[in-house]
Amino acid sequence: MPIKILMPALSPTMAEGNLVRWLKSEGDKVKSGDLLAEIETDKATMEVEAVDEGILAKILIPAGTENVKVNEIIALLLEEGEDSATLELVKPVDSPAKNEIVAEKKIEENKHTNIPVQSPVTDKQTQERLFVSPLARRIAIDNQVDLGRLKGSGPHGRIIKSDVEAAIGQNTQANETPSTSYKAANELYPAYEEIKVSNMRKVIAQRLTESKQSVPHFYLNVECEIDELLHLRQKINKSLPESDRISVNDLIIKAISVTLKKVPDANASWVEGGYVRSYKHADISVAVAVEGGLVTPIIRGAELKSILEISKEMKELINKAKAGKLKPQEFQGGTFSLSNLGMYGIKDFSAVINPPQGCILAVGTGEERPIVREGKVEIATLMNCTLSVDHRVVDGAVGAKFLKELKHLIQTPVLMFI
């Protein structure tokens, strides 16, 4: 029989957690002690270590899945020479049952197709089992009502048809209320409109408020000469078709990722409860303005990718972001953020840290300015970079070291490629 790899409990009280990332892929050989996956709770992130040797035959819970119950089977390991047909014998229902038929079915499907599936009705609001009549559950699924938000009026708090129907009624009403209401002028203000905000804006508001209020920010600033970088970019682009041309931003992503490898202390997060997460790869979140807000799609493992790969991936992510088609795993996570307002002519600015990350780099426009070199005034193209730092994780010296290395790379860009 295949060896079951179960969702580990990182603490005695942990009931569920997020499967952040798989560090091995299906088909990889696994030795005892190898790191298999990264698990995250609200308290900590930890790697799952392999206990047995074999081949990672089947990943049952895809990366980016949230609220995975402890002891749920997340993957199957086959021992040397074991037949992959035995995989089918393992039923996910061995695990403490997910509380819905639907979810179980999805897992079954997952087993065969390995496509990440999100349960249409989430019970994530409650850790406990949610009691729902079969009829109410079906109506909720059909109408996309989140059962976790409902209060059941049946025995033992069971959610019944009338509860779901009431919720659907409310939703319809809520949708009917205009999202914008016009207010006439009064003594204090001229006439104005009150515009109901999107979910994205709510999330931005909540996360950035939380960041500014709870993260002790400090800021470090450097000026980088980018003439060589621009020259390099020109040279690279000459040899590329127009559609593949790389941007200054792509080069900066690469530069950040290489710098983070040299200064890994800057690639870290503060975790409540007395931990600092030190990330093993540079997953760079790049702020992209979209209609009504911004998102931060991620170039994962940027230090391992070529500048061309980064550029190509970034183009795809930006297109998806503008079309609102990013998958959660494409914008959730990330270890370090980059915000570039250079294209808007902004010389210098400080960005708000994107929690739980430790740093964000704000990049201004590149412009020709006089500089003094060896007693002479010369003209150079300068770009201001401001690093916002979470002082709980990264101290001034570490931040300064990061910027020094980054500046060196940007000014001597050929070093990025060695």
Partner: protein
């Protein structure tokens, strides 16, 4: 011609059914204890001896195992016997003939030999006849492949279904009820009103909750439904009429409409008809249930003799009312 609504008792309806079928088909005959000279222990066979003579209306010795066997043999040989049990409680003696001989022979002979026989008689509890004479056999016989099990409530169904049973080529268990024999119902119109076997009837339509039941308990369910209507609960009452084959479609359609189900029977709950229907609805209409199915059944004890205790043993109108309220989350 005036349209008069005539009434008839279930006792008369059953007699008429037998008489009509005996007139139509010379192969049909009646046998049982006291069915001829005494005109039936419950006077169901009144007038039959006079009309059809002692070759077709036969008094038997008091041995159910014996005369049930004679009947099964006659059916194998091509006759169409109606075997009356004074009550189905006594029919327990004959259960080997019914199950092993009547029910299984068509299958065991590879279809070469059938058994067109009707076993009929009162089933279940009457009043104060004690533990050994007050048992419902619906689930016993419905359990076995090869048998059809019918349990009518009113006169039209009693007559129409008994006629269908006599015409059916399979062995049939026809469960009557002593308490209903003397009850008058609207009379069947016309001679040849045959009610198809395997079709339930919605005797009261409603939208809030379904109750399935059969035989004497249909009346109890209707009374409960009336009381519940005054409290704002609209009950749909289904008279199963045939226990096997069960009219699954009617039950499922009703549950899909009301989303709630209670089952009612006077027999014991364990492996009873309600258990079967619960399983059916769970398997076939799970996503339509807004509440767990509630079984209303006889209490799990041998029937007491004292009248006061009988009332505490067989489902009463107020039990049904309470149970339905529970199913509707109103208690």
């Amino acid at each position: 011609m005036t349209l008069e609504t005539s009434t008839i008792t279930v006792r008369e309806a059953l007699r008429d059914a037998m008489a009509e079928e005996m007139r139509k088909d010379p192969l049909v005959f009646l046998m049982g204890e006291e069915v001829a000279e005494y005109q039936g222990a419950y006077k169901v066979s009144q007038g039959l001896l006079e009309e059809f003579g002692s070759k077709r209306v036969i008094d038997t010795p008091i041995t159910e195992h014996g005369f049930a066997g004679l009947g099964v043999g006659a059916a194998f040989a091509g006759l169409k016997p109606i075997v009356e049990f004074m009550t189905f409680n006594f029919g327990m003696q004959a259960i080997d003939q019914i199950i092993n001989s009547a029910a299984k022979t068509l299958y065991m002979s590879g279809g070469q030999m059938g058994c067109p026989i009707v076993f009929r008689g009162p089933n279940g509890a009457a009043k104060r006849v004690g533990a050994q004479h007050s048992q419902c056999f619906a689930s016993w016989y419905a359990h076995c492949p090869g048998l059809k099990v019918i349990a009518p409530y009113d006169a039209i169904d009693a007559k129409g279904l008994l006629k269908a049973a006599i015409r059916d080529p399979n062995p049939i268990i026809f469960l009557e009820n002593e308490m209903l024999y003397g009850e008058s119902f609207r009379a069947p119109v016309g001679e040849d009103e045959v009610i198809p076997i395997g079709k339930a009837r919605i005797v009261r339509s409603g939208k809030d909750v379904t109750i399935t039941t059969f035989s004497f308990m249909v009346g109890v369910a209707l009374k409960a439904a009336e009381q519940l209507a005054s409290e704002g609960i609209d009950v749909e009452v289904i008279d199963l009429r045939t226990i096997r084959p069960l009219d699954e479609q009617t039950i499922l359609d009703s549950v899909k409409k009301t989303n709630r189900l209670a089952t009612l029977e006077e027999g014991w709950g364990f492996a009873g008809i309600g258990a079967e229907i619960s399983a059916l609805v769970m398997e076939e209409a799970f996503d339509y249930l807004d509440a767990p199915v509630k079984r209303i059944v006889g209490v799990d004890v041998p029937m007491p003799y004292a009248e006061s205790l009988v009332k505490l043993t067989i489902p009463q109108v107020d039990w049904v009312v309470d149970a339905i309220k529970q199913v509707c989350y109103r208690s």
